[in-house]
């Protein structure tokens, strides 16, 4: 069944776009569903195994480990958006409601080694788990935007902005800024050093649309059009969610060395001594949670693109651009240059450079794309297919290469947008 999906995705479902192309319609309502899964190292084989179960054997583990970099990222988003766009003269109005589910995990190769193999093979080695992060967010985003076109001689400048209200449902995050684990030869001692922060919203009564936090986001774009060329500088979804006091916070910065349960006289050993000692150790390492408010950031996009018409036999125009994401793992600093750099670094997203071209065929508009960077940090090929004009249906993928690489592919994405112009 999976083999059937890929061709269908390619040929029937086109186009995944980072920014909605509002020039498609003056007044329009559209629905967009997108699923994406990207990683700079792990492949679909890993994703399939994690999602759909089965026994992971040693060769599989070795295969996955061999593909890992020192720092690895997995990002996934499942979102559904209903949007409305209206142009009236030089002004435009934009409204959307989106349901968004984001998951991001950053980890080191050493962490995956320990998770898959255990520590037996790493005696005498110190395994590093610095910058380990795991974040899950679920929220609804209600966006309200406005744009205005300014005529400057023969050129036009469009400034648009939007604000979003974020209804936070659930948040789960774990961050270990510095962590390491050492296993002495023959297991004579284990040493764990970690500085950890973890947050979790109240899961006592789990509901999909539970309000556990409120937040805001901000969009801003400048579009300059001159001599048929369009230059756009944009910032989208710069925002955060404040999670309520019922969220649980765990903070600890400690090291833990274990050389075995201490026995006074080995010649008097019995099981009950172990039980008593283990209770004491569990008390020592027990991390006490406290309730409090937590702030988390949603991934913001910052980028630039240039659209240029082509007098080509095959392509009518092309767009070239780059995109950056900003998403710090935790709110541990005031807004500063360091904070800005932290957000770019911790997003796990490499600068994404892309080039896409537009070609109109008899039945559909095809938009092929070539890109490099993003979460996968690799060269990727995408294709978008649009059917119809008044009721355009766009389906596409950002990672066409996943069809050929199949299980070896690092990424999977699919996008469907249906709109109505009026």
């Amino acid at each position: 069944m999976k083999k059937l999906i890929y061709p269908l995705l390619v040929f029937i479902f086109p186009v995944f776009s980072h920014a909605s192309d509002t020039t498609l319609t003056n007044n329009s309502i559209s629905w967009k569903s997108e699923i994406s899964l990207e990683s700079n190292s792990l492949n679909m084989d890993f994703a399939n195994r994690m999602l759909f179960g089965g026994y992971i054997n040693e060769s599989q583990k070795n295969s996955w480990i061999s593909k890992l970099d020192d720092n690895n990222t997995i990002f996934s988003e499942v979102s559904n958006t209903l949007s409305f766009h209206r142009n009236f003269g030089d002004n435009s109005f934009f409204f959307s409601i989106a349901d968004r589910n984001l998951a991001k995990m950053s980890f080191t190769k050493d962490l995956m080694k320990v998770a898959l193999f255990g520590n037996y093979n790493y005696q005498g080695d110190t395994l590093h788990f610095d910058k380990t992060n795991f974040t899950l967010d679920r929220f609804q985003q209600i966006k309200l935007g406005y744009g205005k076109i300014f005529k400057i001689q023969e050129n036009s400048l469009t400034i648009s902005t939007a604000v979003s209200y974020l209804n936070g449902n659930h948040h789960l995050s774990f961050t270990a800024e510095n962590a390491s684990f050492y296993t002495a030869p023959f297991g004579s001692s284990n040493y764990l050093n970690y500085d950890m922060n973890a947050f979790a919203t109240d899961t006592a009564n789990f509901k999909y649309f539970q309000n556990n936090g409120n937040g805001f986001a901000f969009d801003f774009a400048i579009n300059f059009e001159s001599k048929n060329k369009k230059y756009t500088l944009y910032l989208t979804d710069l925002g955060y969610i404040n999670w309520k006091e019922s969220a649980l916070k765990y903070n600890t910065d400690t090291s833990f060395s274990f050389s075995g349960f201490e026995i006074e006289n080995l010649l008097d050993f019995n099981d009950s001594i172990l039980e008593a000692e283990s209770d004491k150790y569990l008390e020592d390492i027990y991390i006490k949670a406290r309730k409090g408010t937590v702030k988390s950031y949603i991934p913001a996009n910052f980028g630039f693109k240039m659209e240029t018409p082509l007098n080509d036999l095959y392509f009518s125009k092309y767009i070239v651009g780059f995109n950056l994401k900003w998403q710090p793992n935790q709110d541990n600093k005031l807004l500063s240059f360091e904070k800005v750099l932290q957000g770019f670094y911790e997003s796990g997203y490499s600068p994404y450079f892309y080039l896409k071209a537009f070609t109109q065929t008899k039945y559909a508009l095809l938009i092929p794309q070539i890109a490099i960077g993003g979460y996968s940090q690799k060269l990727s090929f995408g294709i978008t297919t649009q059917f119809g004009n008044k009721v355009p249906i766009r389906i596409g993928t950002h990672h066409l290469e996943s069809i050929f690489k199949r299980k070896e592919s690092n990424s999977l994405s699919v996008y469907l947008q249906v709109g109505v112009k009026f």
């Binding site: 759909f52 089965g54 898959l116 296993t183 023959f186 297991g187 010649l267 008097d268 099981d271 059917f387």
Partner: protein, 674 residues
């Protein structure tokens, strides 16, 4: 329209390919430390005690009690005294006296016209009147005294007192039992002058007397007066009958309260060779046992002037009821805390004696005022039992030889050693003997040897030691909770050769001579709670050469395989800071003592590094690994370890800071997601 169809088809296909989310599973190999212990020689030899000198050098010390001698049999008293029987012949019955008065007035009244012829208060000449009495009967009532009485001894006394104004003559008188008319006695008085008294007595032994007697006056003549005499009607002849010197065979009578028996005597206790003058009684009792067949209540007054408490001697009065079915009456007196003077009666002839008490015993019949029957078989039997446990005794304890043994004392210090050789640089065996007796002692060992029952090897202490006699002086008394200042002696011998055979028994036989020199200047004393204590001490300085010295240790454990985690391998990391090489075997057993697995088989542990003085300079780490495959419940872990000192052939000293750092870790296989 086409767009809508395509869209609809895609949605269906997407939904159709929906998979159920499931958890993946995989195995991980974990290496974790389980237990850690730092052990010194002290921990390994936890069954024994050690001493550590200022250099940290360890000496193994084994101590246990050697003898526990009891002396209380010497001074405990269990004896029976004052055994006696009192019979009826001891009963005393008072003389019975009955009197009868016959006035002249009564006689004159009997004579026709007597009162006219001889009026009262006149002077008349009385003529001779023969046969004035002729078989006259006089009732004699003795019921006030007895009902019947059979005598084995007795005298009947007749006394006539003539109060008439004229002589009487030819008085013939008989006494008979009123009931059976048996003649008891006859009296004849030829002449009784006026104003005189005549007496006669008859032996009535063997006679039975009734309470009612008849006196028959066979004849009495009144002689003529010598001229006119005063006629006083109150003048009378008084007849007095007395039964005296009564010795009863049987009698039904009113017995007076009287003493049956009296016994003041000294009694000597058998103290063997001891000559004691005083015993303080810790706990004890005197029991008076009495059996009385007398129908009336008896009484025993029992005094022991030799037994005092706070200076007050013991006295007692006990009522002894008549026996029922031959049962004895027991009366017990508690004498806890009393002081028993064993020097005999105070002021006795010949001066104070020893081992002797003085007692006084008096037996009584208590008169109840009832008529009771006593016969010659009735008796009063009594004896006194003494049962004392002494708190202390003073005097001379005697010259005695106490034999201790032959005994076998278990030596457990080498219990865990199976085999091998152990050379000791030195070893000392000593006996600490404390003398709490107030008497000199001499001690000689007839036998002292160590024995290894596994190798059947014996080593004796040697002739030089066995021929020695050790003297311990007498202890002294002092105030305090323990009122004795003991004297002690330490008897030491070089036990190197005796202990190198790794013995499990010490065989001994010892003679203790009490007062070998006879009596001393001060009195001996004995507190049974504190006599002679002896302890055995073994001191083994841990300067040793071990050659394949094999020890075994058994640990009772309860280890079950955890179902969530599989143990694949065990690692034993030993950082050895003790100068001993070891080869170990560790076996695992189930609850039925079946061997489950051999964890380590002849695994070597390297000795610590030593310098030219055989002092440890550096620890050595050895890591042993063993596969672990069992699902059984482990109940016992037996470790057999063979040790060799390093360097071989030289004595190696073991110090308290020598330690062995042991870590047990395991390779675990766990399935994630299961």
């Amino acid at each position: 329209m086409k767009n809508k169809i395509f869209f609809f088809i895609c949605i269906i296909l997407f939904s159709a390919c929906k998979h159920e989310l499931e958890k993946p599973t995989w195995d991980v190999d974990l290496l974790v430390p389980l237990i850690h212990s730092q052990m010194s020689i002290n921990d390994m030899l936890s069954d024994s005690s050690i001493t550590i000198n200022e250099d940290g050098f360890i000496t193994l010390v084994f101590q246990q009690d050697f003898i526990d001698f009891e002396f209380d049999t010497l001074v405990n008293i269990q004896a029976r005294t004052d055994e006696k029987t009192t019979t009826l012949d001891s009963v005393v019955f008072d003389d019975v006296t009955i009197a009868d008065t016959a006035t002249i007035g009564e006689v004159i009244n009997e004579i026709p016209f007597g009162t006219t012829l001889f009026p009262d208060g006149t002077m008349r000449t009385i003529p001779a009147i023969p046969n004035i009495a002729n078989e006259d009967t006089i009732n004699i009532d003795a019921s006030e005294y007895f009902e019947t009485m059979t005598l084995y001894n007795g005298m009947l006394k007749m006394k006539l007192e003539n109060g008439y104004p004229t002589d009487i003559s030819n008085v013939s008188l008989s006494l008979i039992n009123a009931v059976n008319q048996n003649l008891i006695a006859t009296f004849i008085f030829p002449l009784i002058p006026s104003g005189t008294t005549v007496e006669d007595s008859v032996d009535i032994s063997g006679q039975t007397l009734d309470e009612n007697l008849l006196a028959i006056l066979h004849n009495m003549d009144i002689n003529a007066s010598n001229g006119p005499v005063l006629i006083d009607y109150s003048d009378a002849i008084i007849t007095t009958i007395t039964i005296a010197d009564i010795g009863l065979l049987e009698a039904t009578a009113f017995f007076p309260e009287q003493q049956l028996d009296s016994n003041k005597t000294e009694f000597s206790f058998d103290m063997k060779s001891a000559r004691l003058t005083e015993i303080k009684i810790k706990e004890g009792a005197v029991t008076i046992n009495a059996l009385s067949t007398l129908p009336d209540t008896g009484k025993i007054e029992y005094n022991i002037p030799s037994l005092t408490k706070n200076g007050v001697p013991f006295t007692s009065v006990s009522v002894i009821p008549p026996t029922i079915n031959g049962e004895m009456t027991k009366i017990e007196f508690n004498f806890d805390g009393y002081l028993l003077d064993l020097t005999g009666q105070e002021g006795r002839l010949g001066g104070d004696t020893v081992n002797t008490i003085y007692t006084e015993s008096f037996t009584f019949i208590d008169s109840t005022g009832e008529l009771v029957t006593i016969n010659q078989t009735d008796s009063f039997y009594s004896f006194t039992d003494f049962d004392f446990v002494a708190e202390y005794a003073r005097g001379f304890l005697g010259q005695d030889t106490l034999v201790v043994g032959p005994d076998e004392t278990n030596i457990t210090i080498f219990n865990k050693i199976l085999s091998g050789n152990l050379d000791l640089e030195t070893a000392k065996l000593s006996f600490n003997i404390k003398n709490y007796l107030g008497a000199d002692l001499q001690i000689k060992f007839d036998q002292l040897s160590t024995y290894n029952s596994n190798t059947n090897t014996t080593v004796s202490a040697g002739f030089n030691f066995l021929s020695q006699i050790f003297t311990i002086e007498s202890a002294t008394e002092m105030p305090g909770a323990i009122p004795i200042d003991p004297k002690s002696i330490d008897i030491e011998l070089d036990a190197k050769s005796m202990l190198e055979i790794l013995p499990n028994k010490l065989k001994s036989k010892m003679n203790i001579y009490v007062n070998p020199g006879g009596t001393g200047s001060a009195a001996d004393f004995l507190y049974p709670a504190y006599t002679i204590n002896a302890s055995l001490n073994l001191e083994i300085p841990l300067s040793i050469i071990a050659n394949n010295l094999t020890l075994v240790d058994t640990n009772e454990v309860e280890i079950t395989q955890n179902e969530e985690v599989e143990i694949e391998k065990l690692y034993l990391s030993i950082k050895n800071g003790i100068p001993l090489d070891a080869t170990i075997n560790v076996m695992l057993y189930d609850e039925f003592d079946n061997l489950i697995d051999t964890l380590f088989n002849n695994a070597n542990i390297l000795s610590a590094k030593v310098d030219e003085n055989n002092l440890v300079t550096q620890s050595t780490t050895s890591t042993l690994s063993a596969s672990y495959n069992n699902n059984e419940k482990i109940r016992k872990v037996i470790t057999v370890a063979k040790f060799n000192t390093v360097p071989g052939g030289s004595f190696v000293k073991i110090y308290s800071d020598y330690k062995m750092d042991i870590t047990l870790s395991a390779k675990l296989r766990k399935t994630i997601g299961n």
